[in-house]
Amino acid sequence: MEILCLGLSHRTAPIELRERFAIPESRQGELSLSLAAHPDLGESVVVSTCNRVEFYVASESSSRGFDALHRILSEQGLQADGDAFFRRSTEDVVRHLFRVVSGLESMVLGETEILGQVKKAYQAAQEARATSRLLNKLFQRAFNVAKEVRTRTAITRGSVSVGSAAVELAERIFGRLSGCNVMILGAGETSELTAGALQARGVKSIFVANRSHERAVSLAEKMGGKALRFDEWLNDFLDVDILIGSTAAPHHVLTRQQLEPVMEARRHRPLFCIDLAVPRDIDPGVNHLDGVYLYDIDSLQAIADQSMEVRRGELLKCEALIEKHVGDFTNWLATAGQPREGSGFRRPGDAPAHGV
């Protein structure tokens, strides 16, 4: 019995091709069942995310299995030919799936969202009764491997984007962010993304000040915050914990001289300044004030890069762990994993086989 995988990913195909093949979540179970219903295929799981579309099937023969896959996909209007598509068989499929769910094949190395996406895809296939003994065992093992990789290595450690680095730093300063007020100076895209990441952690309120007041109002409405007139932002500054600067001003919008008396009036409550503007909005000298922590775009990017380095350094450790599990799984497949003589495939509509 062979396990096969046909697919494309961000490594092999441009976004134009990936979006053509993307299968909506609502159709993944149905398509899995169509594949599993083919006489040359026994089980199937369809995984489709923004970075990959992969069809996992079980078949008695590799060539017949891939042929069947291509035929069914063609019938669905999906021509899965060309260099953008990869084909993998049994041991390589096991290794590939373990790497995918562990985040080693992701665009952002070590990201954890993929595990949830694959779990959903598997669940959809299972509910559609498109899976049985082999793929159940494979996917359940893959989820355990992903968990082990995450707990035993530092592959998910640190923040690898400017936004998440800012959130992590804010948490190291304030602990929980639920009591924090955020002020955005300059309604740019990066500041919106960063504020969005902070908002996702439950910050108390968001103030937006922009030279174009309409733009401030629009962003404030979008984020459920309050718009301020740009020339009045300093009046509301006393209660702010996190300041995000991203104006197009050619000079510093906030200077050390302006901030010094404000910090005294704040009774030394810490202030986290995130300066995303170039030229910079915030005087670097404010970092010398007690309780003020200033990070510009370069320093946030450096943190993200450092975390990525740590993750890259963990790759070998992850791969060694995965190899061990690939060996265990293929051993199982060679012995207990093969169907009993004459038992054939479980056909769609038969009772689901949840166990192994």
Partner: protein, 260 residues
């Protein structure tokens, strides 16, 4: 035999430190049972040692620098065990074990003073004064640790050089709160101890009375300063760390003067 009991306790705290560091590296979200058991074992051996020592002396075992160091370690361990799981796992908690290890390690390097015959008449108020004061000193020790941790955290944030352990540090806000609360707790305990001593017979102990009052005034000043929020958490951290160093030097000086 006594020395062996204390040595076992000291090794337990060393093991507790190693296990805590391991738990942090594994990014455990709750205190591991092994750390708690090892600390409990260390605390039990400490208690056994202090109890034996107390029986020999016929009073609270706080008559020599050796005893004071062990008692101080005991109070730090007591606060560690009474505090919640969050504290135990944070670096603040991790630092408790090496502090106890250090205090007892220093004690073990000294010759253990032979106690004279048990005292027949013991003033329980004086005993209460001594015991509660040393527990207060334990709280001040932890406040000092919180202060140092805050300063290390602050430095990393300011210089933007974030080491891997940075992510395991409690936040600046939490450290500042812990620093403040521990000083308040210690001060309340110290006040209780001082009142017990002053009201019942401490009046004749000239040097000790002056030192106790001096420490009480020092931490009273700290309480007022921290409560007013007129200084930044960073300066408060320097003050609590510095105050604890002064406290240790004072304890040492009193012991030297008493023995001299």
């Amino acid at each position: 035999m006594e020395r062996i009991t204390l040595a076992i306790s000291t090794l337990c705290f060393l093991a507790g430190f190693a296990l805590s560091v391991h738990a942090l590296r594994a990014r455990a979200r709750s205190s591991t049972p092994a750390v708690l058991w090892v600390t409990l074992a260390g605390f039990a051996f400490q208690t056994l040692w202090l109890s034996e020592r107390g029986q020999q002396a016929g009073r609270c075992p706080l008559t020599t620098l050796f005893d004071v160091l062990v008692f101080l370690g005991w109070s730090v361990a007591l606060l560690y065990l009474l505090a919640g799981a969050t504290y135990r796992l944070s670096l603040l908690g991790v630092f408790s074990s090496p502090l106890v290890f250090l205090l007892q390690g220093v004690a073990l390097l000294m010759p253990m003073p032979v106690l004279s015959r048990p005292m027949v008449h013991v003033n329980p108020w004086l005993e209460l004064h001594a015991a509660v004061s040393v527990v207060a000193y334990g709280a001040f020790a932890l406040a000092g640790i919180a202060g140092v941790t805050l300063l290390v955290q602050e430095r990393q944030l300011k210089t933007r050089k974030l080491r891997s352990f940075f992510y395991h540090f409690p936040s600046i806000h939490e450290l500042a709160a812990a620093n403040r609360r521990l000083v308040y707790i210690g001060f309340v305990l110290l006040t209780v101890g001082l009142l017990a001593g002053i009201s019942r017979g401490m009046a004749h102990l000239g040097l000790l009375r002056v030192v106790s009052l001096g420490v009480w005034l020092l931490y009273g000043f700290l309480c007022v300063t921290l409560g007013s929020k007129r200084i930044s958490p960073q300066r408060a951290a320097w003050l609590t760390a510095g105050a604890f160093v002064v406290l240790l030097l004072t304890v040492w000086a009193v012991q030297i003067a008493s023995n001299g």
